[in-house]
Amino acid sequence: MSADALPTSYDVIVVGTGLVESIVAAAASRAGKQVLHMDKNKYYGQHWATFNYDDVQQWIGDQDTPLEEKSLDPIDKLEFLTTGESKRLVSNIRQEWFGGVVTKQKDVSKNSEVSGGDEGPVKESLTAVELKSRLASFSRKFNLDLAPKLLFFKGPMVDTLIKSQVSRYLEFLGVQNILLCVNGTIELVPCSKSDVFSTRTVTIVEKRLLMKLLTNLQSYKADSKEMEEMEKISFEEYLKQQNISETVQHYILYSIAMANQETTAAKGIKQAQAFLNSIGFCGNTPFIWPLYGTSEILQAFCRLSAVYGGIYCLNRSADFLATNEKGSCEGVHSNGGLLKAQHVVISTGLVPCRFVNREGPSESYQRAVLVTNKPVFPGGKEGISLMTYPFLDSSFDPITLLELNSNSSSCPKGYFVVHLISRKAKQSTPYEDFDKLIADVFSTSDDGEKPTIVYKLQFTVDVLTASQCSNLPQNVHACSGPRCLSIDFHSSLQEAEEIFNKMFPGEEFLPTPESTEDVPSEE
C-alpha cells in the first residue's frame, strides 16, 4: 500500500527512534540531507519510550514473545545480515498490584480540568484487584517513562534545544526538592545559597564551611595542574579532608556530585560544577523535567527532522543490512526491497551479533516504576523530587529515586509515580537493593506518614554502548541505548554530534534556523 510510495534512495537511513538516533536524524535533515527514519515499533523511542498504563501492559507482553529469526538467501553480490534485535535487552520483568488508600477520582468521563465545588480530596480504600482495574481505567492519565532523565538548566542539552529551536515543542517543570536518604531518614539537601542559609540540618559553623566549599568547588579549572592531582584520589577522600561533618560530606558526595565511593575527585568536582552552575535559574534546584516525559525530547527532534523533509515510517522494520564486496553498506532491506543510503544509523540493539562485543564495562541498570499515594517527603515543596539513596555499609551503588506528581503529567491527581534507577548488581538477586529502599521509605499499611505502593513494575535493561560494536562497515553508525546511570542527557547528545560530524565533516550541527517562519502576521 502506501509503503510502496517510499523513495528508494537516501543520504541517511536511521533505524530506530531512540534519542541518539532522533538527534542524528534531526541534524542530518537540518543540514539538507534526505533522511528516512524508521522504527519497527508502532511508537517512538524504543527503550526511551514513555507509555500510558495500557501501553506498559502491551510492552510487557511484547518482551515475552520470542524473537523471530529472519534469514534470506544471498542475492547478487549483496551480503545480508540479520538485524533483528540480537538478544532481548530487557529482562526480569515483574509487576505487582497492592491494595491501598487512594484519592477518589472525580467522574473521569467529564472534563477533569473543571473542578466543580472543591470539597477536598475524598479517600477510599481499595483492594489490589480494584486498584488494578482503577489504574486501567485511568490508563491515559499515566505517562510512565522507561528511561526517565532530567536536564541541567544550564547544560549542553538545553543549549542545543534553544539553538536549534527544538525547544519550541517542549515545556518543562522545575524539580522542587533534592533529597537524601541516609539510615532511613530523608533530608532536604541545601543546594542554593539561600538554602544553605536557611537549612536547619547544619550548624552555623558548618554553614560557613559548606558555603566556602561549594564556592571553592567551582574554582577548579579543567585541565589544570590541580585537577590532575584530583585524578589520584577519590572524591570521598577529598571531602574528608575538608573539615566538614559527615552529613555535609554526604550532601555533596551523593546529591550534589551524584557520585559514589569509587568516583575520582576530578570527576566528582566536575559533576558538582555542572550541578552548581545550573542553580538559581528555575527555583532552588538545577534540574528541569520535560512535561509528559522523556520521550517528548526525542519526539521533538523527530518533528524538527520532519519539518526539514525527513520521512517518518513507524511500524516498519529494517530486516537486513546490505553490504557490498568492499565491505561498505549499501542500505537496508525492508519489506523485501532495498532502500539505498550513503549512511545507515542504527540502534546498538539492532546491530548484527557478529559486530557486538558483550564483554567490557557494562552500563546495565535496574529500574522500578512505582505508583504511590503520598509524597516520599511531605516536608518538601509540592512537585518533583530527586532523591539519592546511598548504601553506606554495603557494596551497592546509590539508588536514584525520581518522584513525579500529577503536575508533571505523569499520573492522575492524588497519585505519584516513583522511578528507581540503580546499577545492575552483579552478584546478588535482582532488585535486592530496591527492596531495602522500599522497606525504608514506603509502608505497607496506611496508618503512618509514609506512602504506600499500589503498583510496582521492575525490569532490568542491558545497555549496549556504541563502543561495544566494532568492525562495522565505515558508513554504518551505532547509537547507544539510554544510559540511565547518569541523570542527564549529555552523553547521548555528545554521541549524536560525533556521529553527525563523522558523516558530514565541516557541516554545522543543528544550527539556528534562519528567519523563522512564524513571524506573527498581523490582522
Binding site: S167, T215, F281
Partner: protein, 207 residues
C-alpha cells in the same frame, strides 16, 4: 501591544496527504497560494492574530510537517490543542473515507476532552467532485464537528473556517482559560525562565 490578546490557541490541521492542509494554512496566515505545492517541507507552525466578535486571540496553527504520510504524527503534536481542522479533498472519496481514522487518532491523543473539531471539504474550485456537500455535513454532524467547504485556491471559506472554529472554542467553557494549573518553563523564554541567575545561584557574588 500584547494586552488586547485574550489567549493563544493551538489549532491542528490533519487529514490525508495532498488534501491541501498546508495550502489552507498558507492562505489563511499569509494569503498566499502555490499551485505547485507538492510535499510539505519546512512548514512547522504559523501564528496569526484573529479578531472575532470583539475577541482577539493569537492562533498557533500547526502543520503536520509531512508526518501524516505514514501516520507517524507524534503524540506530542496533539497535546494541549484546543481546536482541530480535519481536511478532506471533495474530489477524492478516499480522503473523505479516511477521516474516520483521523478522528480516532485525534480522540486517542488529544489531551482536552472537549477539543473543538471542524471538518473542512477543500478544493471546491475543482470540477470532478466526488463527495457531496450533504455527505460532508452529515459526517460532521455525526461527530459533533463544525463543517465548512473551502478552496485554498480561491480563498472561499478559508477565513470563515478559522473564525467559526475560534468562536466555538471561546464559547466552550474550560477549554482555553488558564490551561495550566502549574507554572511550566519554556527554556527559550528569557524572561519567564529567568536565564539570568538570581542571587540563589553560585555565580552571583553579591552575598
Amino acid at each position: 501591544m500584547e494586552e488586547d490578546i485574550l489567549t493563544t490557541l493551538k489549532i491542528l490541521i490533519i487529514g490525508e496527504s495532498g488534501v491541501g492542509k498546508s495550502s489552507l494554512l498558507l492562505r489563511f496566515t499569509e494569503d498566499k497560494f502555490n499551485q505547485d505545492q507538492s510535499l510539505t517541507i519546512g512548514v512547522d507552525f504559523k501564528t496569526k492574530k484573529l479578531t472575532t466578535e470583539g475577541n482577539t486571540v493569537r492562533l498557533a496553527i500547526w502543520d503536520t510537517a509531512g508526518q501524516e504520510r505514514f501516520r507517524t504524527l507524534t503524540p506530542s503534536y496533539y497535546r494541549d490543542a484546543q481546536g482541530a481542522i480535519l481536511v478532506y479533498d471533495v474530489t477524492s472519496q478516499p480522503s473523505f473515507a479516511k477521516l474516520d481514522t483521523w478522528l480516532s487518532e485525534l480522540d486517542l491523543y488529544s489531551t482536552k476532552n472537549n477539543i473543538v473539531k471542524m471538518v473542512v471539504g477543500n478544493k471546491i474550485d475543482k470540477e470532478n467532485r466526488q463527495v457531496s456537500r450533504e455527505d460532508g455535513l452529515k459526517f460532521a454532524r455525526r461527530h459533533a464537528a463544525l463543517f465548512i467547504e473551502s478552496s485554498a485556491k480561491t480563498k472561499d471559506g478559508v477565513q470563515c473556517a478559522f473564525e467559526e472554529l475560534v468562536q466555538k472554542i471561546i464559547q466552550t467553557p474550560g477549554l482555553w482559560e488558564s490551561t495550566k494549573s502549574n507554572k511550566t518553563i519554556s527554556v527559550d523564554d528569557d524572561e519567564q525562565a529567568g536565564r539570568a541567575p538570581t542571587c540563589a545561584g553560585w555565580q552571583c557574588n553579591a552575598i
